[in-house]
Symmetry: C2
């Protein structure tokens, strides 16, 4: 299995992936100018767990898992996935999302929620839909895309527990 928990040693390989994606500003609700220190906190420290996808000794992607809302919402988790630009289209995101659902179930979460999927990110919307996530919300003009301007953001959600 190419997916394993991230270690501090992995950060030097995760950071360029994070930086490229966040600087582009087309998919993630992080400040495009997020510093490496801030990124480390956001990706490696604040989440409950962080994983990497490693193949032949190279980090091709990473994801985090965290509780989405505290207290009465703490049975729902949230994940974020990033794939290196040179590794797109190889099924890395799909594998990480499937893996994260399994981890979430093991941790006792009942559902997974993506809070802020840019509607313009059709690859992600298509993939999450294929993996069983429903679009349960549409936030009008909530995402400022650097080329397209204000576009809707989607809330996507999947119940993980057995019925």
């Amino acid at each position: 299995m190419p997916i394993r928990p991230a270690t501090e040693t992995d950060w030097s390989a995760i950071w360029p992936i994070f930086q490229e994606i966040v600087q582009a500003g087309e998919t993630y609700a992080y400040e495009p100018g997020t510093s490496q220190v801030q990124a480390h906190s956001l990706w490696m420290e604040l989440p409950r767990q962080t994983f990497v996808y490693e193949q032949d000794g190279r980090i091709l992607g990473s994801y985090y898992l965290k509780t989405n809302q505290a207290g009465p919402g703490s049975h729902v988790c949230n994940c974020g996935y990033m794939v290196a630009s040179q590794a797109r289209g190889l099924g890395v995101a799909s594998a990480m999302c499937e893996h994260s659902q399994q981890i979430a179930r093991e941790l006792g979460y009942l559902a997974m929620q993506f809070n802020f999927v840019a509607s313009s990110n059709s690859g992600a919307v298509h993939l999450w839909s294929k993996l069983g996530f429903a679009t349960v919300g549409r936030l009008p003009r909530a995402f400022r895309h650097p080329k397209l301007g204000l576009v809707d953001a989607l809330v996507m959600y999947k119940w993980l527990a057995n019925a």
Copy 2:
């Protein structure tokens, strides 16, 4: 105007309101056992601004305003409102919500989003709807109500800027 920025002196009056509401666990996604130190951080430190509603020298309610998502989402704000149990039904929440929209506009936000409104909280749903918020999302069984069990949570949203 009974609404003004909160000061450190106000905290001793805000905390009992926070504690009663959060311990009940019926409306807010905070841990029911949130400590006073944690509550101070969540309500007074992390938000961009915090306000109180004061009448005849008594704090009847408080609200915070913060940016809901960073980077490409930073034009949308989020608010949370709490009203003392003995001051319910007097229009305090309504006045704070109207006030927050004005403050949000002054700060340059284009929209306001409530991320996690318990669908069972019909008073809040009705009030926010009356004040122009649309229900743009419904999160299935995302809120664990202490009496009702798992109920849906709503995402509510209002565009603040002129068309």
